[in-house]
Amino acid sequence: MIRFWFPLGILGLWAVAAISGGWIVESANQIDLQRILQSPGEQGLMGYDDLGRPILQRIWVGAQVSLLVSVGVVTLSLLIGTAVGLFAGYQGGWLDLILVRIMDVFLAFPGILLAIALAGVMGPGVDNLIIALSAVGWVGFARLTRGQVLSLKQRDHVTAAIALGTPRHLILLRHLLPLLSAPLIVEATFGMAGMVIAEAGLSFLGLGIQPPDASWGSLIRDGASYMLMAPHMVLAPGVAIMLVVLSLNILGDRLRDRLDHRSNG
């Protein structure tokens, strides 16, 4: 059970920080020139940044952006990807062929590069960031869903449903989707980890949330110029990203182990 507690504890803290972050935005953006680049200590647990703002509070507030973007992107990608995968896998034929080729094109193109291009065209902002990352995130879900559907639609209960004249949408929703949920949940967990890193990457490039609001990527970008004098500016948000991504990956592994009947058997 302890194998679940570490990731769940970190992710719980992440969620609490994200929910409560709205109440401390003002103190996170409070400039105090006398505390510029102050190291972690009694005055501030994680030190202060290049404008004398407390890094702990800024990481706290940054959790909100990180959670919002990763949940938003994974939800949107899951919906689009699953719908496309279900349709392509079940329908087959030339429609499947076209959709698979489209997926191949998306997979062949470096995802983060496409997201950077889209975010650059649409302009900075959380909403645009979610759209840009979803534009590349849906493909993984679609491919997984299609593969599963190709296998599942040969099963007896699906053949029986077809023979009984069950409408297609009911077959998809009642007989296929429930069986897909386990691999999709696992994929979504890993997808969230990827999106936390992608959001931080785009914010690092200045395509995410705009100053003075904080996100983990922009905190690292601000700190990169002061690495020699104030390494805490980079280390603190870096460790936050690492812990959340590690927790999501561990959780994904544990869920896969638990939901995979073959390994359980």
């Binding site: 409070q30 400039i31 020139l33 006398q34 510029i36 680049l37 290049d50 404008l51 004398g52 200045g206 100053p211 003075p212 601000d222 990169a224 110029s225 002061y226 690495m227 020699l228 004098m229 104030a230």
Partner: protein, 507 residues
């Protein structure tokens, strides 16, 4: 291959490698933040190119520390107020293709820049010239359209060889000048190889955009010299390093906040005064810039001959609140303004501090940072409420006309805030018609006082010039406008056996 030949080839390779390494060791390397773009002085407008061009070419006129013009390669006398005779002096050198610089070259250079067909950005500052003629190889005459006692100060064009101008030579890539340095090679965009004529010392100017990487290269002795474009914190960090020495010199680059006087909000004097009282410039200079700046009272620094330092608006948040309250603004009804700045991280940082100081008196600032092209385009079009920028390398007070005269709106001038004052216009006209520099300075003081009252600009500070020298070199002297003239004196440190000192930090 026989063993003997193989051995000889190996020996030869070793000798060649050792020779190259010796040459590398004896080269002084300077780290630049931006690559020079154009070494043709008729077209170069970016600061790095202009600074490199100063090394490669010579000018008729130079400037004293108080910014008065002094003879460069020529002395002058005014025969009449509109007729000047320039005489080339002993400082006029030879071009790098080994021909003496003569008055023919000067006339050819100025004629070509004045030719509208060339479309040189330097043409506007020379429109005062009606004609010029070569008297003999050492003397030339300038005839002016109207009298201007500041005229010699405008003659800062780098001189090119006449015959190469006629041949349409590519000076941008293959400069031929008579300055103290020759360009040896330009292998890639950010790398220039120069040779100092006086002693053959070789230099490399290497572009390293990231300031942290530039500092790390200095600490590893991959470069020997840095100048400016480093954050104050990095300078503080370098001061604590035993292997490098930091030099600081008061600078003349003027940073200000500009207002759009045609905007319904920033057009009101009380709002501009409230902003001036709300910004704590001393705190910014002390804490953010780590003391590497002087608070500004007017366009020119105190050492400039036309300067009149006026008492800056005191930091007084209560007074700012009072002024805003008179216009009906309060915490419940805050004044909302848009502040534009460039995307340079340090400029954004300064703007964020100003934003927080203005918020403390009830002004909500929407801070917008843009890439340089978009930002400068908006400023020239008057598409702003307030913005911050710097004037770099200004020398002569005729800049007042360019910035504040009511007929100097962009694109013909730089009156970006659309400031219009009959008093200032009259004072500028009188100053330009005055033949005496002292009387002219007095009139410019009156202009500065008018501007201080009307506040089209809030003067912020003059940023210091900073250089950092590695352990291998000595003697680099900083200039107040940030040019690289100090390279003429810098030397490699020598040890008694005549060999150059090796790096103390390089592996």
């Amino acid at each position: 291959m026989p063993r003997g030949e193989l051995l000889a080839a190996l020996l030869l390779s070793c000798l060649l490698i050792t020779g190259c390494q010796d040459q590398e060791r004896e080269t002084i390397r300077m780290g630049l933040a931006n690559a020079p773009l154009n070494l043709d002085p008729r077209f170069a407008t970016d600061a790095t190119s202009e600074r490199v061009n100063r090394l490669l070419y010579q000018r008729l006129v130079e400037f004293d520390p108080d910014s008065r013009p002094r003879p460069g390669i020529a002395s002058w006398r005014a025969i009449t107020p509109t007729h000047y005779r320039f005489s080339l002096n002993e400082h006029a050198g030879n071009f790098s293709h080994d021909r003496e610089l003569t008055s023919r070259d000067v006339v050819a250079t100025y004629r070509q820049v004045l030719d509208p067909a060339l479309a040189s950005p330097k043409q506007a500052s020379l429109e005062l010239i009606a004609s010029m003629e070569e008297v003999d190889t050492r003397h030339l005459d300038f005839h002016l359209k109207r009298a201007d006692p500041l005229f010699p100060a405008y003659l800062t064009l780098d001189i090119l060889p006449a015959e190469l101008i006629e041949q349409d030579h590519d000076f941008a890539r293959k400069p031929v000048g008579s300055g103290g340095f020759d360009l040896l090679d330009w292998p890639q965009a950010g790398e220039l190889h120069l040779r100092r004529r006086s002693d053959g010392q070789r230099f490399q100017l290497l572009t390293v955009n990231n300031p942290t990487v530039r500092v790390l290269k200095l600490l590893r002795s991959e470069i020997d010299l840095l100048q400016n474009d480093i954050s104050p914190e990095l300078i503080g960090y370098l001061r604590r390093q035993p292997t490098v020495s930091v030099d600081q010199h008061p600078g003349s680059n003027y940073t200000y906040i500009g207002f759009n006087l045609q905007d319904p909000l920033t057009g009101k004097l009380q709002i501009r005064q409230a902003i001036a009282h709300a910004i704590d410039r001393q705190a910014i200079i002390h804490w953010v810039m780590q003391g590497a700046a002087r608070q500004a009272g007017s366009l020119f620094p105190p050492e400039h001959w036309a300067s009149d330092q006026l008492a800056p608006y005191e930091y007084n948040p209560d007074k700012a609140r009072e002024l805003l309250a008179e216009l009906g603004y309060s915490d419940r009804n805050p004044l909302r303004l848009t502040y534009k700045t460039s995307s340079d991280p340090f400029r954004i940082r300064l703007a964020t501090v100003i934003q927080s100081q203005l918020k403390a008196v009830g002004i909500d600032i929407d801070l917008r940072s843009y890439d340089w092209g978009t930002f400068f385009g908006d400023i020239k079009q008057g598409n702003f409420q307030l913005y911050s920028l710097s004037w770099v390398g200004i020398r002569t007070p005729d800049i007042y006309r360019d910035i504040f005269a009511s007929d100097s709106l962009p694109p013909s001038g730089a009156n970006r805030g659309r400031y219009a004052s009959k008093t200032v216009d009259q004072l500028l006209n009188r100053a330009e018609q005055t033949s005496n520099l002292t009387a002219q300075a007095e009139l410019y003081h009156q202009v500065a006082a008018e501007l201080h009252r009307d506040l089209p600009y809030i003067p912020l500070w003059y940023e210091d010039q900073l250089s950092v020298q590695g352990s291998r070199i000595k003697g680099y002297k900083l200039m107040s406008d940030g040019n690289y003239d100090g390279l003429a004196q810098v030397k490699l440190k020598s040890v008694p056996d005549g060999k150059h000192v090796q790096s103390t930090t390089a592996n």
